[in-house]
Amino acid sequence: MNDRTTPYRLLSWIIPGALIMTWWMVSRCGWLPAYLLPHPEDIAKSGYAYVFGHAEGGPYSGRFVTDVIASLARVALGFSMAAGVGVPLGILSGRLMWMDKLLSVSVNGVRAVPGICWLPLSLIWFGIGMKTTVFLIFLAAFFPIYLNAAAGARAVPAILLQAGAMMGVGRIRGVFAILIPGAMSHLMAGLRLGLGISWAYLVLGELTGVPSGLGAVIMDARMSGHIDVIIVGIVMIALFGQLSDYLLRCLLRCLFKSARRTP
């Protein structure tokens, strides 16, 4: 079955389409007041103004670029730190018994704490803004990345490592030529989960009163009663979440043969 054929492509749009239709109906017939759920057209208009409007056009008009740049920078920084620490540590503890023993209690202990609990502490440590958000994203994204890297490294068949050893592959080359490609499907899963959760914690970090960012816009709009802008913000986060996931997969496919060839 080829999922690139037209009927299958259409299949995935049935549910979003139906939801928007229902929403349209509900707003049109006035079943719900606009302060709870604005008309889709109003939201489209606010969204257009938010993205393309001039700074003088309204309270949220034209803020999009600064918000997106701020949020992307936070996600990129927090996520890449989590990946940079999580992948190597995960691979090490997946292969080395002592490393696993050394880390398992601490990692599981910290993991048991809901990420939101770190918010007050990080506000005290890092203050409001960039650092707090990046710290929260790092903490949240680290665990799926680390745990999947460890599981992936553990799951690499011993026979592949033996094959490498008998062909004269040393430890360092073994890591890059056998271990990482062999664990690639796990690594990809962990990184994608980590990136997804990064966006969730971005909003948490930005709820604390930073001036710009997609999460900040949502919170700000609630205070000023702009429900349409809240929904625009949510849609933007959904879009950028999807887009960043797509770019991450492209990047991995670009860098690693094993990512391209994982079935």
Binding site: A163, M166, M167, R173, A177, G182, M184, T262
Partner: protein, 277 residues
């Protein structure tokens, strides 16, 4: 006893021994049990010899191969390659495994070229070598296929090519054709013999299939279990190419079956549980 089938366990050391195994024993301790997987195994492999190690499952023949390849260190005894002791895996003693051990994310050609990297070979000559070995195993047309896209027989030919390209001093084969269907297995045996004729490597071939051993071997080491040891060292002097349909071939097989049976019952129980004794 047949004139063509001689017991040669007392034969003197071969002049040009590549591999020298002396008094190798392997004891496994699992929980409260000790198991003598191998006991005092000694033999030599001469240059260009094709030796089959034949035995029932559990006789320690795979353990022996793991010791020779350097994956495990023997509890006692010595293994030397060209006079130098073996203590870790290396490309001078390459292994073809029973199961599929190709790298699934590399194409057929990339799998074959894998071991060449880090040998200081230029990319031009590395490519030439890869092409030479691709054609040697008749897989030029499949160079860009992934392992999961080719058949079991092809996979084992890739596994052969990727180690032959490293020019090993000894080729260790651990029941490499056991997972293949009967017809493909026979094809692969003939294929291996043709390759061996061309490249004349020293080959140690582990198998539990009597007919396979008689088809391939210059010499068959018959192993028995409990404890695992070499019971007979037999020269196979059947003319090549060997036809499975001939009486001589059947005669050899029958002899070997008889030897395997006596080897089996002759052993004493050595995997003991102290709590039971």
């Amino acid at each position: 006893m047949s004139t063509r089938l001689k017991l040669i366990s007392t034969r003197a050391a071969r002049p040009q021994a590549v591999l020298d195994i002396k008094g190798v024993s392997q004891i496994f301790r699992v929980a409260q049990t000790t198991c003598h997987a191998l006991e005092n195994v000694s033999f030599q492999a001469g240059t260009g010899e094709l030796i089959c190690i034949l035995g029932p499952s559990g006789c320690g023949k795979s353990t022996l191969l793991k010791i020779l390849s350097g994956f495990i260190a023997p509890s006692a005894g010595k293994v030397a390659l060209n006079g130098l002791p073996v203590f870790r895996p290396g490309p001078d003693r390459c292994v073809v495994f029973q199961e599929d051990a190709l790298f699934p994310w590399l194409t057929v050609a990339e799998n074959i070229a894998f071991g060449l990297k880090g040998r200081g070979l230029g990319s031009q000559s590395a490519r030439q070598e890869t092409e030479r070995f691709l054609s040697l195993v008749n897989l030029e047309a499949f160079a860009d296929y992934l392992p999961r896209e080719v058949s079991g027989g092809m996979k084992q030919r890739v596994a052969l090519a990727r180690v032959l390209i490293l020019n090993p001093k000894v080729l260790l084969m651990d029941e490499p054709f056991a997972a293949l269907d009967a017809q493909t297995r026979e094809e692969m045996q003939n294929f291996l013999l043709a390759l061996w004729k061309k490249l004349s490597h020293t080959i140690l071939f582990v198998t539990h299939d009597v007919a396979e051993a008689v088809t391939l071997a210059d010499r068959i080491l018959v192993m028995g279990k409990n404890p695992g040891r070499i019971r007979h060292d037999i020269a196979v002097t059947l003319k090549r190419p060997r036809m499975r349909e001939t009486d001589d071939f059947h005669h050899h097989c029958k002899r070997l079956y008889a030897l395997l049976r006596t080897g089996d019952t002759g052993g004493m129980q050595s995997c003991q549980n102290p709590r039971m004794s």
